[in-house]
Symmetry: C2
């Protein structure tokens, strides 16, 4: 039997898909004795997972429930193989991205404010917001109370599995899509990220959905934002450090662009940070991948990987191979 | 020449598509003398349009820029033909509906509140909201911070041109669609509105997108809401009186359902009305059909109708035939 440690708070009924040959060992928070394991499924809460790691012995494989595994290599060291739960967050994150675009284009935060004030007449503030964001459009009659996704040019920065889901979800909205990624390819046309400067001025909406790497760290800074259209929307569904926070604060406070972000740098965003108060910004506290069905999906990915491990087959979602 | 009066504040550049044979007569607000016309395009602002009507003579045809024409027959009387700008609001209204669904399922109003408070830790309130809305789901780990559209059952009440646009936009989101309308039909299956009671208990999301008629007035009341699933979402993209307001206030305050509405009864919703303070409700002040491209679209519809009028062909969007 392969001994597999997992967070005890995962409901046992969700483990029915685990392969024969896996002995599932629940790990309680506050574990105070050593446990021998072959495989470890860490708790989703990083500090709790790190505490538990102190008591684990013999782990050769870590199967993360998350897509992001940044904290794991430094915790478990180089002699352990690490796999992520690639795909488990996809639907939720792609839906979050579409929702964030609509939140911004349909002025949802403003309408929430108007609703809280209980004053129907404040609807005229929507037309004022449109005029501030698009000073070149002139006076439009009847007053513009929300914008439209139809006809917008969308630039996807990153084109992995979540990017493809976003593209699929945007398909019926009559948008024009441009794509950049590390590796240029065709069918569909994906340009090299080195083309970013040439494409940014053309985009109404820029979606960041690329992994955090040394190359993508700080990719979107003051220069890139200055290349964006007046009033264009920057959506960060990737990782906080892909965007230079000071530059974002500057571009938002100058009224140049708007943004919708699920991730920040630093994260969590501390109380009093200037980003909290920027105009034309929607922030969610890194919840884009959350879903009521997340654990089912993640455990399905983990079960597949575990089956391959037990059968001695190659693993599919390796983010660190043991040395 | 056919003399066509139109609101002077429509930019003349937008009138280039009007047919030869139409003499376009700009009508200023505060018009103080009588004007002879054949066709009248009323101002979008109803009180202004009513004032101008007092000075119009000879009008045989009203071409509304709006889809809703409720105020026109009582103003111009039965001897004038009235057409609406069917279709001009479709894309915006369908997008509003999708945006309203995401606003609700992704807890956007709560995240706006959290953002305004500048306290990242308040994200735990999202999981509390999920638990309140879905008490039968039990404790889910990791905590649920937003819901998902994928897998939801959507009941469309009404299946006209906007309903079809909504269906098209929902297609990639992996929802299961049910449809009711006045007239049952197949391909796609549209059931009779008399089946509503049987279908309501099965729906996670109920979208109202039907015209206001004597039959649809008050269609959704306390009994219909009591048939809805705990935590289900009611979206009103139709007209306020389709929903019984007192019943909605009751169902929301009891935590039974949630709602997203662009229309209210009464409308405008007065200050101090209990609906403003209901939980799990998103209100927009009847802006669902607004779009920066609205006037172009509406004038295109009007130009088509005007061309047919001049050519003596049947009109397409008659809502009242002159007697």
């Amino acid at each position: 039997m392969v001994r597999v440690g997992y967070p005890a708070r995962i409901d046992a009924s969700l483990l029915s898909g685990m392969p024969v040959g896996a002995e599932m060992v629940p790990l309680e928070a506050g574990l105070d004795h050593d446990v021998n394991l072959d495989v470890w499924i860490p708790d989703a809460l990083t500090p709790r997972a790190k505490e538990i790691w102190q008591h684990l012995r013999g782990v050769k494989l870590v199967l993360s429930l998350m897509a992001g595994t940044e904290w794991i290599p430094e915790t478990v060291g180089p002699h352990v193989t690490i796999c992520n739960a690639r795909g488990a967050h996809n639907v939720a994150t792609a839906e979050w991205t579409v929702a964030a675009i609509f939140t911004s284009l349909k002025y949802v935060p403003l309408y929430c404010e108007i609703q809280a004030s209980g004053n129907w007449k404040r609807r005229k503030e929507a037309a004022e917001l449109f005029a501030r964001l698009h000073p070149d459009e002139g006076a439009i009659y009847p007053p513009v109370m929300q914008e439209e996704l139809a006809g917008r040019k969308v630039l996807m920065v990153g084109y992995g599995s979540i990017g493809k889901d976003i593209e699929r979800m945007l398909a019926p909205f009559d948008v024009e899509l441009m794509r950049v990624a590390r590796t240029a390819r065709t069918e569909p046309m994906v340009q090299s990220v080195s083309e970013l400067d040439a494409l940014l001025p053309d985009a109404d909406i820029v979606i960041l959905i690329l992994p955090l790497t040394p190359e993508s760290h700080g990719l979107i800074g003051a220069r890139e934002m200055s290349l964006m259209k007046q009033g264009a929307l920057l959506v960060n569904a990737a990782r906080g450090p892909v965007v230079q926070t000071d530059a974002l604060v500057g571009a938002l406070n100058a009224g140049r662009i708007r943004a919708a972000i699920d991730v920040t740098d630093p994260e969590p965003l501390p109380e009093g940070h200037p980003l909290w108060k920027c105009p034309n910004l929607y922030i969610t506290p890194h919840i884009g991948g959350s879903s009521p069905r997340f654990m089912q999906r993640a455990l399905k990915v983990v079960a597949g990987e575990l089956e391959r491990y037990i059968q001695g087959e190659p693993l599919e979602n390796v983010v660190q191979a043991a040395i």
